[in-house]
């Protein structure tokens, strides 16, 4: 089976840095940022390009800041 490729866009300004998405991510794609947002939280961001679009991060995100994208089926390699 071809590997599904995905990506997440995180609204970093509204992220509270709870880390639940990082813990839920099965491929360790997400990690804490080195910078902080205006509220002083180390927000969550993609640190590797290994997203499989499983939506686990978005499901556990209490602030609903994560948008998940998936490669269209006909474009997948």
């Amino acid at each position: 089976m071809a590997k599904v490729k995905g990506a997440v866009i995180i609204n970093t300004e509204n992220c509270k840095g709870c880390g639940l998405c990082i813990h839920a991510c099965p491929t360790d794609t997400l990690g804490f940022s080195k910078e902080i947002n205006s509220k002083g939280f180390n927000f969550s961001e993609m640190i590797k390009d290994e997203c499989i679009a499983c939506m686990s991060c978005a499901l556990v995100c209490p602030d609903a800041v994560i948008t998940v994208y998936r490669m269209k089926k006909d474009k997948a390699v």
């Binding site: 880390g19 639940l20 640190i47 499901l59 995100c61 209490p62 994560i66 998940v68 994208y69």
Partner: protein, 257 residues
């Protein structure tokens, strides 16, 4: 900086529901209320019932639920959400009416209203967020606080002799003939969040049958008052809360058996 990924040839498969207002919620980082708010609003969007849903907000951490949910909402006095929802549902029987309550609201001051609303079989959905503590007021012992669990009013842990046993609301209301659907779910892992959403959809849809009350208990975390990080609190929930509050379906009379 994190990496930047091109979104060319990508399709959006998940985004924040439009029924959830574009505001930063006041909840602490990692709080289960945020997930529950999102699930309720997702189902309102999916079922297309934004214009005929009325929510009743409680007193407690979720007192500002009406700031975030883009539907008609009413604030109730402490514990009286079920009574207010009863009035709304009786006046507007074609609307979906739900209450959103925490454990201090529903299981302490509002036990009376809750039990009687369930016993009368009011056609409402009760969303009960159980995090075993009073969150907004600063971590006092709630009726659902576990034995041995520390809180600001029982710093050495809850004792049975002085404070009694934690109350299991789902088991209690499942015995009442007025309820048609009672389920306990949790929101600490992705799989459980999916299950929780299914339970909430079932509970909301059961209002169409006009046969009784639907009750969904959501076991949630409270990182700030449990004094843990969000990830630790979800683990603590797994190890301590779920043995006492087992997840599962307690009553399902929707299919008419």
């Amino acid at each position: 900086m994190g990496i930047t990924v091109s979104l060319e040839n990508m399709e959006k498969i998940y985004e924040r529901p439009k029924t959830l207002k574009d505001k930063v919620m006041h909840y602490c980082p990692g709080c289960g209320h945020g997930v529950t708010h999102r699930l309720v609003m997702e189902l309102v969007e999916e079922l297309g019932i934004q214009h005929n849903t009325v929510g009743v907000a409680p007193v407690g951490c979720s007192v500002f639920a009406y700031y975030y949910m883009d539907i008609d909402m009413q604030e109730a006095a402490h514990g009286r959400a079920c009574a207010v929802a009863t009035g709304i549902k009786r006046m507007m029987p074609d609307h979906y009416v739900f209450t959103y309550q925490g454990d201090g609201d529903l299981a302490a001051i509002g036990t009376n209203e809750t039990i009687h609303a369930c016993n009368r079989g009011e056609n409402i959905t009760i969303v009960f967020v159980n995090n075993a503590i009073y969150g907004m007021t600063g971590g006092q012992m709630a009726p659902t606080t576990l034995l041995g669990q520390p809180a600001t009013t029982c710093p050495l842990g809850r004792e049975q002799a002085a404070n009694g046993y934690p109350i299991r609301m789902s088991e209690l209301v499942a015995q009442l003939p007025g309820t048609i659907y009672v389920e306990r779910v949790a929101v600490n892992t992705p799989a459980r969040v999916r299950k929780a959403k299914k339970a909430l959809i079932k509970a909301f849809k059961s209002q169409e049958l006009k046969k009784g009350t639907s009750f969904v208990e959501i076991v949630s975390n409270c990182p700030s008052n449990w004094k843990m990080t969000p990830v630790e609190s979800n683990k603590w929930l797994d190890e301590n809360m779920l043995p006492y509050y087992p997840l599962g379906l307690y009553k399902d009379e929707i299919s008419g058996e």
